[in-house]
C-alpha cells in the first residue's frame, strides 16, 4: 500500500487502511494520524473543577499542560476537570444484515466493516481521554452490550467485542436505543452508527427520547457509494437482504431519479435530526476514517 506523504492512515482509503491489519491496528493508526492533525483534544470541554492529571496526548491543548508538574518531574501532564471525567459515551452500532453489504468489496469496505473500525477509532479517542466508553450492538435485538467504563482495559474489551460481531438480522434501532437509555444512567453522549435503513419516524422517536433525557446524540449515517449512485445491468431484480423485498429495475432508467431519492432521504434525515437537536453525519464508506472522526469532533465541540 502506498501511504500518503504524511503517512496518516486517517486520510487514506478505508479499504486500503483496513488491509493493514485487524481492527485494533487500524484504529490505532487512524487515531494517531487523526490526533496528530489536531491542535486540541477532540471531544473535550474543560471546566474549572479540577479532577485529575493524565499524561499528555498529542492534540491536547498546551494551555492545559500542568507546568508545575513539568517543572518538578519533567513530565507532560494535562489537567482534567470534573465535567469531562464524567463524560459517558456509548457507541450504538447497527449490525443488521444490510450493514454487511458493499457494492464493490474490492474497492470499499462493507458498511459493517467500516462501522466497526470507525467505532473502534472513536472508542480509542474517547478512552484516551479517560472518557467512559461503552458499546451497544444491535440488529433486530440488542446483540452486545459493553457498559461505559473509563478504565484502561476498556478499549481492548471494546475491540474484542467489536471483532466478535458479525452482521445479523433485521435492523431495529427503535428497540436498541431505549436499551441504551437504560444503560446510560447519567447524561452522556450517544454515537449511533447505522445505515439507517429503518423506519425513520420510529427511529427518530427513540433518538428524541434519548435527547430528551439529556444525552447528546450523534448519528453516523453510513452509506455505500453503490447505494448512493445506482449502477448495475440493464435490468435486474434487486433484493433486500434483510426483508427479502425485491424490485425489478433498470439502473440506466432510474439512475438519476434514484439519486434524487437518495438525496431526499439524506436531506430528510438531516432535517429531522437538526430539528430534534441530534447531530447528523452522512458518511460514505469510501470516505477516509479521519474525515468521519473530524466531523464527529466538530459536532462534539459545537455541542459543548
Amino acid at each position: 500500500m502506498a501511504l500518503n506523504r504524511s503517512g496518516r492512515l486517517d486520510l487514506l482509503n478505508p479499504r486500503e487502511v483496513a488491509s493493514l491489519g485487524g481492527i485494533e491496528v487500524v484504529a490505532r493508526g487512524v487515531v494517531e494520524g487523526f490526533l496528530a492533525g489536531l491542535h486540541r483534544s477532540p471531544f473535550r470541554g474543560f471546566s474549572v473543577e479540577f479532577a485529575e492529571h493524565r499524561p499528555y496526548q498529542p492534540g491536547d491543548e498546551l494551555r492545559y499542560l500542568d507546568w508545575k508538574v513539568l517543572g518538578k518531574r519533567d513530565r507532560l501532564y494535562v489537567k482534567q476537570y470534573e465535567e469531562e471525567t464524567n463524560l459517558r459515551a456509548t457507541l450504538v452500532l447497527d449490525v443488521s444484515r444490510s450493514m454487511g453489504w458493499a457494492a464493490d468489496p474490492e474497492k470499499t469496505l462493507t458498511k459493517f466493516d467500516y462501522a466497526v473500525r470507525l467505532a473502534a477509532a472513536l472508542a480509542l479517542v474517547l478512552v484516551r481521554q479517560r472518557d467512559a466508553t461503552g458499546l451497544i450492538a444491535y440488529d433486530d435485538r440488542v446483540r452486545t452490550v459493553v457498559p461505559p467504563r473509563a478504565r484502561s482495559g476498556q478499549w481492548p474489551l471494546l475491540v474484542r467485542e467489536l471483532t466478535a460481531l458479525v452482521p445479523g438480522g433485521l435492523s431495529a434501532a427503535e428497540r436498541a436505543l431505549p436499551r441504551a437509555v437504560e444503560l446510560l444512567k447519567r447524561r452522556g453522549m450517544v454515537l449511533l452508527i447505522s445505515d439507517l435503513l429503518v423506519d425513520r419516524e420510529r427511529s427518530l422517536h427513540a433518538m428524541r427520547y434519548l435527547r430528551h433525557r439529556g444525552h447528546h446524540v450523534t448519528v453516523f449515517h453510513l452509506m455505500d457509494p453503490g447505494e448512493a449512485d445506482l449502477s448495475g445491468p440493464a435490468e435486474a431484480r434487486y433484493v433486500d437482504p434483510e426483508t427479502g423485498d425485491s424490485v425489478v429495475a433498470n439502473a440506466a432508467d432510474l439512475r438519476h431519479a434514484y439519486r434524487t431519492t437518495v438525496d431526499g432521504v439524506v436531506a430528510a434525515w438531516r432535517r429531522a435530526c437538526r430539528t430534534s437537536g441530534i447531530g447528523y453525519h452522512h458518511v460514505s464508506t469510501g470516505t477516509p476514517f479521519g474525515h468521519a472522526l473530524r466531523r464527529a469532533a466538530r459536532s462534539r465541540a459545537r455541542a459543548g
Binding site: M223, E227, E242, T243, D245, V247, D253, L254, H256, R295
Partner: protein, 627 residues
C-alpha cells in the same frame, strides 16, 4: 422518389425486430442483493410514468433507426436538388418516333411520353455537353439543346422503322469520336422487340468493341403495350387484273389481341367500296374487287380503328387490262387450242383484232409464249430465231424425267408434273428474276421481256397439265399475265431503298412530283402511299410505299433481352420518368438521400443512446452530504 436498390426495402420488415425482441426476449433478470431496495421502490413509484414514456420513446427511436437504415440501403433518389451539375457529356438521344410510337396507351400517345423525357434531358443538358438526336430517319443531328428541344417538340410519328440496335451503335461511334470523357446513349422508345434488328433479339452479344463501357440508358413507357391489329399485307392477286376484276390478298398482324378474335377488313378501290371480310387475329383473307375499267387503280384495305391508327389501313395499286387477243401458231396440240377457245368463251381471251399474244413454237414480233417444237429437228432454227430476237434463253437438251414443277409465283402450276422437257439454258450470264418455274431443278418456265419460254410442249405425253383442271387457267395466265408482263408495281418501306425501272423520270403523287432516275436505286418517300412511276407523261408503273409490317407488332423486348443485346455496354432500363431522370448524366441530375438518411439514423441512434443512458429524469444537482 425512386429507389436504386428497391429490394433493400424488404429490410423494412426489420422494423418489427425491436418490438419482437421486446416481447419474446423477456426473461427473469439477474438477482442483485441491494439493501436500499426501499429507495428503489420509492424511486419507481415516483418515476414510473417517466420510465414508461422513456421506454416507449426508446422503442420508437429504435424502430425509426431501422426504417432509416432500410431506406438508406434502398438508395432513394430524387430528381434535381443541389447535385444537379454534371461533367461535360457526349449525349446521344435516340428518340424512337417510328410508326409504333403513335400508339395510344392510357390516353397518352407513346411519342408524347418519350418526347417529354427527351425534353427533360435536353433541359438538363449543359453548355459543355455535346448532344445528338437520332430519330426514325436514323440521321444523327448535332445541335444545341435549345434547337433540339424544338426538334423534339415538332417530332411526329414517322412511318419509317427505326432499327434501335443500329441507332445505338451509331450513337456509340459518335461518342467514341467525340473526344468527351463521358458519354451516354439514351434510348427513348416503346422498345418493340422487332426494333432491335431482325431476329437478333436474344442472346446474340455484339462483338462491337465500340459498345464496350458505353452507358446505355433505356426508357420505355410503363405497363404493357396496348393490343394492336394492323393490315400488314394488301396485294392484288393476280398482279395484273383483266377486265372483270380481281382480288386483293389482305393480311392482318399485330400483337396482344385475343387469338380467337376477328377483325373486319374492308376493301376500297378508287373510293368505291369493295368486299368486306372477317379475318383472324393474325391471318390472310382475299377480298374481291369491284369491276374496274382498264388502267391504273389505287385502293386500300382498312381495319377498324384501334390504339395505333397508322397501321389500320394499307394501300395498293393495280393495273387493269382488257383480255389479250391471243392466237396459237404452229403445232401446239389440241389442248392449247381448246384451252384458248375455252378462255375466249369465258371472255378471258379475245380472238378478234390485232393479236397481242401468240403461243406456239415460233418467234414473231410482240408478246410470245414459245413452246418447244414437236419436231426436234426444228429446235435449232427456233433457238437461232430466239437469239436473233435478243432473247437470252435457248432450248437445250431434251430430258426425259418425271419431275414436279416448282413455281412459287405461278399458282396454276401447283402439283403439275413433267415427263419430257427441254432444259432452258441462258445464252449468257444467267439473268436474274426470269425463271418462273423449275422442273428437276432446271428452269422450265422463263420470261425475257415479253417472251416466255416453256420447257415442255403442253401435251399429255410431256406433262400432265393438259389433263388437269389447272390447264385452262394456266394458259390464261400465260397469255394474259405472264406474257404481257407483270403490272410493274414496286413495293417499298418508307425511306427504304428501291430500284426504279428504266425510263422512269419522276415519282408522282396526288400533290407532288418527285424527280427520279430510272434504273437507279433511290430512297422511297417517307410518307406511305401510292406513287406513280412516270416516264415523261406516261405512267409505267406504281410504287407502293407501306409501313414495315413489323411495326404492327408492339411486343416489347424484355429487359434481359436488351442487356443481352448490348452485353458489353452498361445498360440500365427503366419505365419510370423519375428513374430515368435519376440515372441520366450518371446520376448527376439526382440527389441521393442515402447519406442524409444514414446521418438521420446516426442521430436517432445517438438520441437513443443518450436516452437509454441518461433517461428522461433531470440530472440531480451534485449533493454535498456533509453537515
Amino acid at each position: 422518389m425512386v429507389f436504386l436498390s428497391p429490394f433493400a426495402l424488404l429490410g423494412l420488415a426489420a422494423v418489427l425486430v425491436p418490438p419482437l425482441l421486446h416481447l419474446f426476449q423477456r426473461r427473469e433478470p439477474p438477482v442483485i442483493e441491494f439493501p436500499a431496495v426501499r429507495y428503489l421502490q420509492e424511486t419507481q413509484r415516483d418515476a414510473r410514468r417517466t420510465v414508461q414514456l422513456q421506454h416507449l420513446l426508446l422503442m420508437l427511436l429504435r424502430m425509426l433507426a431501422v426504417v432509416l437504415v432500410a431506406l438508406a440501403a434502398a438508395r432513394p433518389v430524387v430528381p434535381g436538388g443541389l447535385g444537379a451539375h454534371h461533367e461535360p457529356t457526349a449525349l446521344v438521344l435516340v428518340l424512337d418516333n417510328s410508326l409504333s410510337s403513335g400508339a395510344v396507351r392510357a390516353g397518352t400517345r407513346v411519342l408524347d411520353d418519350l418526347a417529354a423525357r427527351a425534353r427533360e434531358t435536353l433541359r438538363a443538358a449543359q453548355a459543355g455537353d455535346a448532344v445528338w438526336l437520332i430519330g426514325a430517319d436514323a440521321l444523327a443531328r448535332r445541335r444545341t439543346p435549345a434547337e433540339l428541344l424544338e426538334a423534339v417538340s415538332a417530332a411526329r410519328p414517322d412511318a419509317r422503322r427505326l432499327d434501335l440496335d443500329a441507332a445505338v451503335r451509331q450513337g456509340a461511334r459518335l461518342i467514341a469520336t467525340s473526344g468527351f470523357a463521358r458519354g451516354e446513349v439514351h434510348v427513348l422508345s416503346d422498345m418493340q422487340a422487332s426494333a432491335l434488328g431482325g431476329a437478333a433479339v436474344g442472346p446474340q452479344p455484339s462483338a462491337d468493341s465500340q459498345l464496350a463501357g458505353v452507358v446505355i440508358l433505356v426508357y420505355h413507357p410503363a405497363g404493357d403495350p396496348p393490343p394492336n391489329r394492323g393490315v400488314i399485307l394488301a396485294r392484288p392477286t393476280p398482279a395484273l387484273w383483266l377486265l372483270g376484276g380481281g382480288a386483293v390478298r389482305a393480311g392482318v398482324g399485330g400483337s396482344g389481341t385475343e387469338p380467337s378474335s376477328r377483325a373486319t377488313l374492308a376493301l376500297t378501290v378508287d373510293g368505291r367500296s369493295g368486299a368486306r371480310a372477317l379475318a383472324a387475329a393474325v391471318g390472310e383473307v382475299e377480298l374481291a374487287a369491284p369491276r374496274l375499267t382498264p388502267g391504273w387503280h389505287t385502293g386500300l384495305v382498312a381495319l377498324e380503328p384501334d390504339e395505333l391508327r397508322a397501321d389500320d389501313e394499307r394501300r395498293f395499286a393495280v393495273r387493269v387490262t382488257p383480255p389479250p387477243v391471243a392466237a396459237a401458231m404452229g403445232e401446239n396440240g389440241a389442248f392449247v387450242d381448246q384451252a384458248l377457245e375455252a378462255l375466249a368463251a369465258a371472255g378471258r381471251v379475245r380472238t378478234g383484232g390485232a393479236v397481242e399474244v401468240r403461243i406456239g413454237p415460233a418467234v414473231l414480233p410482240g408478246a410470245l409464249v414459245v413452246l418447244p417444237p414437236a419436231d426436234p429437228a426444228a429446235l435449232g432454227a427456233l433457238n437461232r430465231a430466239l437469239g436473233a430476237s435478243g432473247v437470252p434463253w435457248r432450248f437445250g437438251m431434251r430430258i426425259q424425267s418425271e419431275d414436279t414443277i416448282a413455281a412459287p409465283t405461278v399458282p396454276e402450276l401447283a402439283g403439275a408434273r413433267v415427263r419430257v422437257r427441254f432444259r432452258l439454258e441462258p445464252t449468257g450470264p444467267p439473268p436474274s428474276g426470269d425463271v418462273l418455274a423449275r422442273a428437276g431443278g432446271d428452269p422450265w418456265l422463263v420470261r425475257a421481256g415479253r417472251v416466255v419460254l416453256v420447257g415442255s410442249r403442253l401435251v399429255p405425253e410431256e406433262t400432265n397439265l393438259p389433263l388437269t383442271g389447272a390447264f385452262v387457267p394456266f394458259v390464261g395466265a400465260l397469255v394474259g399475265r405472264i406474257a404481257r408482263g407483270e403490272a410493274n408495281v414496286l413495293e417499298a418501306a418508307p425511306g427504304g431503298s428501291v430500284i426504279l425501272p428504266p425510263r422512269v423520270t419522276a415519282l408522282a403523287s396526288l400533290d407532288s412530283l418527285l424527280e427520279a432516275r430510272g434504273g437507279e436505286a433511290m430512297a422511297a418517300p417517307a410518307e406511305p402511299g401510292v406513287y406513280a412511276l412516270r416516264a415523261g407523261a406516261d405512267t409505267v408503273g406504281m410504287l407502293v410505299v407501306a409501313a414495315d409490317p413489323r411495326e404492327s407488332d408492339l411486343t416489347r423486348a424484355s429487359d434481359a433481352a436488351l442487356a443481352a443485346r448490348w452485353t458489353r455496354a452498361r445498360v440500365a432500363v427503366t419505365d419510370q420518368p423519375r428513374g430515368y431522370a435519376a440515372r441520366r448524366f450518371r446520376g448527376a441530375g439526382r440527389s441521393e438521400l442515402t447519406g442524409w438518411l444514414l446521418l438521420a439514423a446516426l442521430l436517432v441512434l445517438g438520441a437513443e443512446s443518450i436516452l437509454a443512458a441518461g433517461g428522461l429524469g433531470k440530472r440531480p444537482k451534485t449533493t454535498d452530504h456533509r453537515p
